[in-house]
Symmetry: C2
Subunit: 184 residues, 2 copies
Amino acid sequence: MADNQLPEILERQVVARSRLLRIEAIDLRFSNGVERQYERMSGSGRGAVMVVPFIDAKRFILVREYAAGLHSYQLGFPKGLIDPGESAEQAAQRELREEVGYGAGELRKLHTVTMAPQFFSAHMTLFVGHQLFAEKLPGDEPEPLEQVIWSLDDVDELLRQPDFTEARSIAALLLMMRSNSQGG
Amino acid sequence: MADNQLPEILERQVVARSRLLRIEAIDLRFSNGVERQYERMSGSGRGAVMVVPFIDAKRFILVREYAAGLHSYQLGFPKGLIDPGESAEQAAQRELREEVGYGAGELRKLHTVTMAPQFFSAHMTLFVGHQLFAEKLPGDEPEPLEQVIWSLDDVDELLRQPDFTEARSIAALLLMMRSNSQGG
């Protein structure tokens, strides 16, 4: 890893901007002299969180939420952006309260992932939540999220669901199972 | 799934556009009457592919590639967009030749994933490649990709690498291992 000399950023420029998003063009010179323009999403680099919340030893909660990119409802774990001033743990506890109406007595960090790092800078911290207790916070969703309870015994069936496709939810599921099997 | 009535798209508009990317604002009315504007990346919806290429029964090939979003080199599996007219299998064979210099005598479809479907419409098909043979095609990368050989015996160590974080690569790795353990 240390062998790779990072390309030099010759110029950065915001080339397109919407209400929520900014696209940045960066002119790069790679260590072999080749120059190339890349585009990436420019943002606050606000991290995100995702939680696999267990309601008992075997069963966990998924939510079904509208996904505008696919224009369909998608099944996945509760997730959201970290607000300014929040830690990842605090954001995970808040999102859990907003999206499924629970706090977690125990919140364990599972892994940190990135998403399409060629375009995005943000990291997502994955958590597993246990010892849930009812506590609801109002969220900013336009409609209540449908909750779906699933069992560890039926993971193959979950992986076959046509609306359970998000790479970060799949990674969270399989990392959680790997951690369980290693007694983590 | 069928219970969720999709929000009605009241209006769509490209609100920002760069050389490569377009941001679309969509005005939605949810089935409960709430109206909300979402933004998403608008594109050709070209799918993508990723391949876990095995050079023998135990060892597979990763590549280390510059990721502009993070401005760092990231470790992951060979991947790329499906070109117009290509099948996912053809794209996987081409990317393998371009990025690591091999064709796959056997290419098995592992899973299909999405990435941040609230913003993106594209699917990525994950493959496992076996029976590799040397065959190089020129790629469009600005520099040759560093190749890294890893063993199935050292997956925990791979998951601990600070530059192996991409959710789709992690999903591909763990889905491949799950498939192996089920004799798939």
